[in-house]
Symmetry: C2
Subunit: 332 residues, 2 copies
Amino acid sequence: MKKLINAADRVVKDALEGLGAAHPELRVDVANQVVYRADSPVSGKVALVSGGGAGHEPLHGGFVGAGMLDAACPGEVFTSPVPDQMLAATKGVDGGAGVVHVVKNYTGDVMNFQLAAEMAADEGVKVESVLVNDDVAVEDSLYTAGRRGTGATLFVEKIAGALAEKGADLASVAAVARKVNERSRSFGIALTSCTTPAAGKPNFDLPDDEIELGIGIHGEPGRTRVKLTSAAEITKVATDAIFDDYPFDKGDKALVMVNGMGGTPLIELYVVFNEVAKELAAHGAEVTRSLVGDYVTSLDMAGCSITLCKLDDELTELWDAPVKTPALRWGV
Amino acid sequence: MKKLINAADRVVKDALEGLGAAHPELRVDVANQVVYRADSPVSGKVALVSGGGAGHEPLHGGFVGAGMLDAACPGEVFTSPVPDQMLAATKGVDGGAGVVHVVKNYTGDVMNFQLAAEMAADEGVKVESVLVNDDVAVEDSLYTAGRRGTGATLFVEKIAGALAEKGADLASVAAVARKVNERSRSFGIALTSCTTPAAGKPNFDLPDDEIELGIGIHGEPGRTRVKLTSAAEITKVATDAIFDDYPFDKGDKALVMVNGMGGTPLIELYVVFNEVAKELAAHGAEVTRSLVGDYVTSLDMAGCSITLCKLDDELTELWDAPVKTPALRWGV
């Protein structure tokens, strides 16, 4: 294992300390592993909290800031944060208008966020929980009942965060978050495994000439393994899987993310983006907003995921609203 | 070789087509491999053009847009663009106030940009050429006489681009570009080699337990190979090399980039950033601006580079000025 780390058991805390040092607009509680907007709680604003295992950076700490998350709590690598972290985050950001939990559909995250929500309610904080389950590759998985939550998490956090920033109430923010999830679908492809610092060796074996279609963000098994083929053919498998589940037709407008898994260079992501745009065009749909880069990663895995969200005017306007976070920033 | 591509000889063109599809604020001439600001030429504004081999994305195409470059011309992977591309870019963006060429110090780039500048002058376009040579690791190298140009290129393009956007004249824009280069230093570390699509195998061999200190962005040899050690020790080698050449002392303010080489996950870059901040603090200097992510890459190489620029009020203000490009965006 070759990693730029000090020790396997210090990776998350060292990285959090670095995040705080790099971004003065954040307040990072390294000991408890919570990343806050420096100006939180924002009085009267609905707050958004998310979290999950580390190893998917910039998700979620890199999405904390004005117009997106109020706090994020990372667990250890590929391990759910504990309810106490989520409770601290929830209480720390509540400005009196309630808190939305954005929860990716993994059993540990779901259970721990539910406990945290109950504890917060006991202390008088209103919490609405929104489940993200956009990955069409498989039903049920290594850590999931139902579909996994992957790339759409970013869309949910950005768009619901924008509505919260505008002063909407708790029910409205939760509703738009659910709407984004309902209109979003993802599919991932792995060219290689990933290596967690603690394990020190690849999570799974993938032969030199094979790729895994429908991979999860922790290397959970996908649909099938096939021989490595062209970017065009790989992309078509992914977009067909999405279209089978949720068609994009003439006149539909898509927010498209081609997301790198951590070990794939940007030049390849643009090659894939080009194929996605062609597939959408073949259905009469068009790309109206896009994101190409590493946003929801799996440590050093080579590969990518494709996430499509069907935009309407409301979602487009909220997507375009100002955001100021380490990983997504515009308008400010 | 596992890559998300269609064919080795189509990578650059496919990626450029994807870049154009993803970013309507750009105009991409795929056939001639030139990326333009869609609104270029901007009348009366000094224009900035850069370019170099592909494989370092988002450099340079991802830095085209308001407040940064007016055009970029990528060559094939790790291969200089030809003078005709540079000439087309230069003529295409000249708004009557002249053009600054930002040239990384590699023999091919320097020679071709010089030819392009002469051809442009023959056609009545004033060109000022600015050489970037920030890499302190080695003097002379595989493709370079003198020092290599690496991470500071981004700083030069951002800061000079901001001054051009404010309406400064050609001499002033070139002068601030040179000032940024003079005040910036870089040092890179490779954990693995990179694999070009055309070669299909790693550029060089690096044993499983060794890293290369002072690596170049095409895998050119660095200073030495050592056993893999902690992020703290690796960072200290890099920052000591920089401080030996260009001290940072009490009260100095630093713009710090911890740049991923393409195959290293963000969580590790933040671990390294944390160590850089500590090293600067040990010298009494402080981080006042920062950038952590993949900006000047070497395809799928694992590793990172550290670039420090000593800021003053002028450079800080220009760094903070609005920029709207695919890879760097704020204020708009």
